[in-house]
């Protein structure tokens, strides 16, 4: 699903329960990461649940390839949203992304409270840091 499709879906939810349902569905669509990729190094620290994340550039070294996983449904869904935001972007484009503002416009900002322990902040920071290193 493209980020635009996600945006349209989530902007129309009527209740928290419905948006959780959509988020969890997004998570379900995200492929499970093979165990060999669930390395300590790929782990994003600062999440209450386990989150693994890999970022690379495609063969032409132009567009970002992101894969990730989490052991909880909700965080995996939120992760799917983040991955959709960044996937296929060039590093320069990716640097422009204000993930927080996107979550705000999705009506999900409440989920991103640091004390929720979902680590979205940590995920976004990890991505931005790795992009900076890639370029």
């Amino acid at each position: 699903m493209t980020y635009q499709e996600i945006h349209d879906k989530l902007s129309n939810t009527a209740s928290w329960q419905q948006s959780y349902r959509e988020i969890m569905l997004l998570g379900k669509q995200l492929p499970t990461l093979p165990d060999v990729l669930k390395t300590e190094q790929a782990k994003v620290t600062g999440c209450e649940s386990n989150v693994w994340l890999h970022i690379e550039l495609d063969e032409q070294q132009q567009n970002l390839l992101l894969v990730g996983d989490s052991d909880t449904r909700i965080v995996k869904g939120l992760l799917a949203i983040v991955l959709a935001m960044y996937s296929g972007k060039t590093p320069t484009e990716a640097k422009q992304i204000d993930a927080y503002q996107e979550f705000e416009s999705l009506g999900l900002i409440k989920h991103l409270s640091p004390s929720r322990g979902n680590g979205i902040k940590a995920i976004v920071e990890t991505i931005q840091k790795q992009i900076a290193q890639l370029t």
């Binding site: 959780y20 209450e48 649940s49 909700i74 322990g117």
Partner: protein, 405 residues
Amino acid sequence: MSDIAQLRNDFPALDQHIEGNPLVYLDSGATSQKPQTVIDEINRFYAKNNANVHRGLHTLSEQATLNYEKVREKIANFLSVNATEIVWTSGATESINLVAAGLTQHLLQDDIILITALEHHANIVPWQQLAQRTNAKLEVIPVNAQGVIDTAQAINKIAQLQPKVFACSHASNTLGNIQEVEKLIAKAKEFGAVTLIDGAQAFLHLRPNLKALDCDFYVLSAHKALGPTGLGVLYGKYDLLNSLPVYQTGGEMIKQVSFEETTFRDAPAKFEPGTPNISAVLGFGAALDYLSTIDFATMHHYEQSLFKYLVKQLSQIEGIKLYGDLENNIGTVSFTYKSEHHYDFAMLLNSYGIAVRSGHHCTQPLMQTLNLNGTIRVSLAFYNNKTDIDRFIDALHNCIALIEG
């Protein structure tokens, strides 16, 4: 039961909506709600009587001191001990740390410190640190696959290991189990062990008589027993308590200070340097007064029947697995649903206004033993009611549907 049901109205925080739903507070194990009288007393102190204690001759200070010391008597009466045996600390955690630090000289290499597999980190790590300092050994009474300690087995273990120190929770924060501490203490004392009981969870629900328990130390936190944050109690049998070396040092706890030498006062003053948490002590006094108005047998019966109802409802849901001792319990239950993550349940339940706790509950070793990464924990208090449980069970069904859907 009708009287008890009215008490809920004394707790203002329970009367609110979360995400459009009435709040169902099932996280009393983390911290209890406070009755209005406690809030009022804190208010009164700051608005009318605010002064430091033990330091001033003026009226405000004198009144603050009198009221402050009265609460020491109140908690002493509550626990059936003497006021001089009560030390105010910043919490159960500090109480345990104070004792663990004080026992450093008491231990020799290879001496045994015995705890159990279901302790809170606060009743593990200070002992682990003590063991490291002294080259003593930390040993552990196991739990079974349900998370329950077999008392007979535990007694054998005590007899076999002959610990110098025995520390055990009166009730488990994760599972709610009530340990048969009276028997364990008696056995540990046969071998001259120093015994410490962590009553952080038990105090509110069991109102222990410490003379009867006969432990050397008992600790609790005011905030888990209707009182304010930042206050703990350390009870210690006087002679043993007073024999511990000073812990933190500073004003008030000294007899005489010179740059060459300092002499200290006797317990409890010896362990209370600096300005204490005066407003919390007074607020806790109001909490104890409030508790005193509730007949214990009635409260206990009410809490137990709520708990039985909760367990029955939960047991009927396919896929739910309950842990812990469901017979001897303060009203706390931990569960999992299939292999689903506790995080998702906690988040989803919250969207229905249900406040539960999820995770390892500061009992990682217990989680390792039970082979879990965490549980969903529901913890009750007497201000909960059947409607709370019904709302929780309804929401839980919805959450399962959301997750399975």
